[in-house]
Symmetry: C2
Subunit: 222 residues, 2 copies
């Protein structure tokens, strides 16, 4: 299995690449600068030489084409729509997994949602209904992802309008030993993306005795 991670040279993308490679998935990092992606890929492979998945790097378009089916978009929100416009022709037959959170410029405790309501909805509007968009992996800490000795303290709320695509993404996430839930249609990304700045607020707060908080769906004891 081979997936692409666009914006794969950022902290979230690198952490996901390491985790998926450790789970036996081949990962193609994409970047505007393909040489830079290749360099980062070699660094990441060097961090864990004995894992089964191979990390490679190239430009965003080639990375998208190289993916079997699942293409994770992990760019900053400022590059969200431009990246999607650029790779749209390469996405035919694939699923776009949007993990982008539209944080406000200069204040990661606040949002600057696009007119469509959320990044996931903006992606779906831009790509059209033939390319399913699944929102996922918004709330997991990049620090924790990159810290392979630690398990991931975050359940994943997965949303989108195409059930089959969501189920593929849930299966992929389950490979990381993370629980993932079908959290409904794409409109629910307005909530799920918005959890991230609340977690960032708690991470910064002096009243909360930890950072890198995640969110968990908590079963009752009855």
């Amino acid at each position: 299995m081979k997936i692409a991670i666009l914006g794969g040279t950022g902290p979230q993308g690198k952490g996901l690449a390491l985790r998926f490679a450790a789970a036996g998935v081949d990962v193609v990092l994409g970047s505007r600068d393909g040489a830079r992606a290749e360099e980062i890929a070699q660094e990441l492979n060097g961090l864990q030489p004995d894992v089964s998945g191979v990390i490679s790097g190239t430009d965003n378009s080639a990375a998208t084409s190289a993916a079997d089916e699942l293409v994770i978009l992990a760019v900053p929100f400022s590059a969200h729509n431009a990246t999607l416009e650029a790779i749209k022709p390469d996405l035919a037959g694939k699923v776009l997994v949007d993990i982008v959170v539209p944080l406000a410029d200069g204040d990661p405790k606040a949002l600057n949602m696009p007119p469509e309501g959320s990044a996931t909805e903006a992606a779906q509007a831009l790509l059209g209904e033939e390319i399913p968009v699944v929102g996922a992996l918004h709330n997991v800490s990049a620090t924790t992802l990159n810290n392979l000795e630690h398990s991931i303290n975050c359940d994943i709320l997965v949303c989108g309008n195409d059930l089959a695509a969501k189920e593929k993404v849930i299966d992929l996430i389950n490979m990381l030993d993370i629980k993932a839930y079908n959290a409904g249609p794409a409109v629910n990304a307005r909530c799920i993306e918005a959890i991230t700045p609340i977690l960032i607020r708690l991470n910064i707060s002096k009243k909360v005795p930890f950072s890198h908080a995640g969110v968990k769906i908590w079963a009752p004891d009855h």
Copy 2:
């Protein structure tokens, strides 16, 4: 300490009344029908005769006046604005704790947010800045609240524009042995209220092996 719970004859209101009375807080249930509130109050007192807090019942306006400071609004969203209009004169000097989630008519897995963005923001707009509104307790299961043998599997995300008011509400919630977090300004109610229909979706789902789900802020193991 005496608090009011308006819409206190519904499942969320009754459960909160039982929990707060068990924690030693006097509770005045409010309802449009004061006699009905009094009747429910006596029923609830009968359920746990040896607790220290007393539950009484009256109409919404008298209940608001009777509260020391904190007035919890637990009516269905269809009655949200009308109830606030009716009690606004009684709220001077008090804090309105809004626990209402604007669920869509006929579909508890979906929202019908008011033009202000959330119930909490609608309440703050309606009451004006002199009466602080705090959003809280949106995501906790009424069934679990009413089931006193069980601990509450839900952290509480508290939001609002008045820090002192939020801290009072956090202190109140802590009396129930529930963790409560300052989750930022009132605008964050758009996210926090929206978690509830996602939990309802999971509760209904055949793929999720439990119902009455809550949400937890999950500390990392590092």
